[in-house]
């Protein structure tokens, strides 16, 4: 068996050209056949066999849908007849939908609130945990526990906690400290913050662990050097810890923004987008376009809005990477 299987072939041994008087067809196919045999002998078949499952699955369920998405956004599809091309009509319908600006605003509100509350909290917790001397694993496990709960269970549980009557779980607890019952998800103002609260609870643990791993990986010599220079705790955090974690912090921020921009489960299960569309997000709007009408969905509009979301996130990520590259580099 050829050893060229295992390493990148550095030298391609070419077979000498056949000096024959064969017909043109044979002359064309002969080198092809020979190349094929060479390829097979060099382990091309096994390479292909190993690659094939992944390629097939990705082609069918990743690359093809991406292409299909783009095509669908320019078509009218109703699953009964063949799709028809409608140009930019889907995009125009979406842009003129009164729910579109509402959904965009709400999604931005969710992402913004999640950033303000859900971004610094895991960092603070991780820094504290990294300095725990005994039973650090206990802290990590407790922080991560909400992440393993299936989101559906978490949301339904919190939906019960958020019951707006005086005997609701949270309202009972507020009563202990003398605060009156809150409407939580029954109020237009409080609905979105309530969703953000639950979402933070359910997801912060994962971020804590990521930060913790990064914190523990910071070179302790840097801290020793800083201490030798007489730096106090806060100075060390500011001048050593944060800069060392810069990359992970920036990456987590953009990932959180991208993730929260696609929030679906919380608005869907808590409030179905209500009350009065206060929690209607872009993903929920896409879902409603495609699956919200009992007589059949507007798949084209759903695809158009999906494409707009992807394009926006891509552009946003590029701008973000460009802007933060200067920070990461220095």
């Amino acid at each position: 068996m050829s050893t060229a299987n295992l390493t990148k072939p550095k030298v391609r041994q070419r077979e000498p050209a056949p000096a024959t008087r064969a017909s043109p067809v044979a002359a064309r196919s002969a080198p092809f056949r020979r190349a094929l045999l060479t390829w097979a002998r060099r382990g091309g078949i096994s390479r292909l066999l190993f690659l094939l499952p992944m390629l097939v699955v990705f082609a069918a369920f990743s690359w093809y849908p991406i292409v299909r998405l783009v095509l669908m956004s320019f078509q009218h599809t109703n699953l009964v007849q063949a799709p028809t091309w409608v140009g930019l009509q889907n995009f125009s319908e979406v842009l003129h939908d009164p729910l579109f600006p509402i959904a965009v605003r709400n999604t931005a509100e969710f992402a913004g609130l999640a950033l303000i509350f859900g971004y610094p909290v895991p960092l603070v917790v991780a820094v504290l945990i990294s300095e725990v001397r005994k039973r650090r694993r206990l802290y990590s496990a407790l922080a991560y526990l909400p992440v393993v709960i299936p989101p559906v269970v978490a949301v339904l549980l919190w939906k019960f906690f958020y019951d707006a009557g005086p005997t609701g779980v949270f309202n009972t607890m507020l009563h202990w400290v003398g605060i009156g019952p809150q409407p939580w998800i029954q109020s237009e103002q409080a609905a979105m913050p309530s969703l953000v609260l639950e979402s933070t609870w359910a997801n912060a643990g994962g971020t804590v662990i990521i930060y913790l791993a990064a914190l523990l990986g910071v070179n302790s010599e840097l801290y020793e050097a800083a201490s030798a220079d007489g730096a106090g705790l806060w100075k060390k955090i500011w001048h050593v810890t944060l800069p060392q974690m810069r990359t992970i912090l920036l990456v987590t921020m953009i990932l959180q923004i991208i993730g929260t921009a696609q929030v679906f489960l919380e608005p869907y299960l808590f409030t179905s987008g209500g009350p009065d569309n206060a929690t209607m997000t872009v993903l929920l709007l896409i879902y409603n376009y495609a699956f919200g009408n009992s007589l059949g969905g507007s798949y084209g509009e759903a695809a158009a809005l999906s494409l707009m979301l992807v394009a926006f996130l891509a552009v946003f990520s590029l701008i973000y990477l460009r802007a933060t590259r200067s920070w990461s580099r220095s």
Partner: protein, 307 residues
């Protein structure tokens, strides 16, 4: 940070005094010792209340009569226990069937994701085909496409598959295969394979080892850590999945717990419903408690990848 590096760092052990932000000298200062100590204590209390609290409440409410949960949710068994909630969840709500469905889907997800990711990563990392870099680039681009956004075309594809006809609604294949198209898994495994010593492969080659044997007898056994991480995330991800199974599995008898629970909420008594929710959480929680190390290591790794 590769898995090997990560492991060696952890090998230093969490119990010894960390030489981190707070140096040994700092710890000896009273203000730091008591200040930080208090902060840690407060954090522990907060974590217990916030992290453990809701789950403990759920466990309590699952065996409390409905009326008590409605009227006095924060009191502990004012009128005794109601184990009937759990038995009703099992018989009336038929939780066992949905639990079984969830397990089947999770196991299938595990198997397919491992197969697809390991073979693909092996090919890209060890066998290095000619188009390897192009393929890797194509994989990375899919990482940047938010998966939720592909719902609509993927759904249409499942309902009316283009080449093969028929329909794959209500089929578990429609759940397993799209999940297996995870560039994240492939990248994770490829990175791990990239860090395996090439000398080993050379030695194996010299012994006349073909790619298949190399994969099965050498690479896979050495990859237990990463396989463990991918498995855990495959199972956990499948357990938590909601929207896609909701769309694809319209037949109630095929649905997993996450899809079924919201549907039956309107028809089920509260106590029984809470017991059902508890049963739905038990497997991930117990799995987490037993396999903490894998979970936490895996999450750390995923952070390293993203960095």
């Amino acid at each position: 940070m590769s898995a090997l590096q990560f492991r060696s760092k952890r090998a230093r052990g969490p119990q010894e005094t960390p030489r981190g932000i707070v140096s040994r000298a700092d710890w000896n200062r009273r203000s730091v010792k008591y200040g930080l100590g208090t902060a840690h204590g407060a954090l522990l209390v907060l974590l217990v209340v916030c992290g453990l609290g809701p789950i403990l409440w759920l466990a309590k409410a699952a065996i409390t009569p409905t009326q008590d949960t409605l009227v006095q949710p924060m009191s502990v068994f004012p009128h005794g226990l109601a184990w009937s909630n759990v038995s009703d969840a099992w018989t009336q709500v038929d939780i066992g069937l949905y639990l079984w469905n969830t397990i089947v889907i999770a196991l299938g997800a595990l198997i397919f994701q491992i197969i697809i990711a390991s073979t693909g990563a092996f090919a890209l990392s060890v066998l290095r085909p000619k188009w390897g870099r192009l393929i890797t680039a194509a994989l990375l681009t899919t990482l940047f496409v938010p998966s939720v956004v592909l719902l609509v075309p993927l759904y249409i594809e499942i309902v009316h598959p283009p080449l093969i006809g028929g329909t794959y609604v209500d089929s578990y294949w429609a759940i397993w295969l799209p999940e297996a198209a995870s560039a994240f898994n492939v990248v994770l495994m490829k990175r791990f394979f990239d860090n395996l010593p090439r000398e080993l492969f050379e030695a194996a080659r010299v012994d006349g080892c073909g790619p298949v044997r190399l994969f099965l007898s050498i690479v896979l056994p050495m990859s237990k850590p990463i396989l463990g991480v991918v498995s855990i995330f495959a199972v956990l991800g499948s357990w938590k999945d909601f929207l896609w199974p909701l769309l694809v599995l319209t037949d109630a008898s095929k649905q997993p717990l996450s899809v079924r629970l919201p549907t039956i909420q309107g028809q089920t008594e509260l106590g029984v419903f809470l017991a059902a929710m508890l049963i739905a959480c038990l497997v991930p929680i117990i799995g987490f408690l037993l396999l903490q190390r894998w979970f936490l290591r895996g999450t750390g790794l995923s952070g390293a990848i993203k960095g």
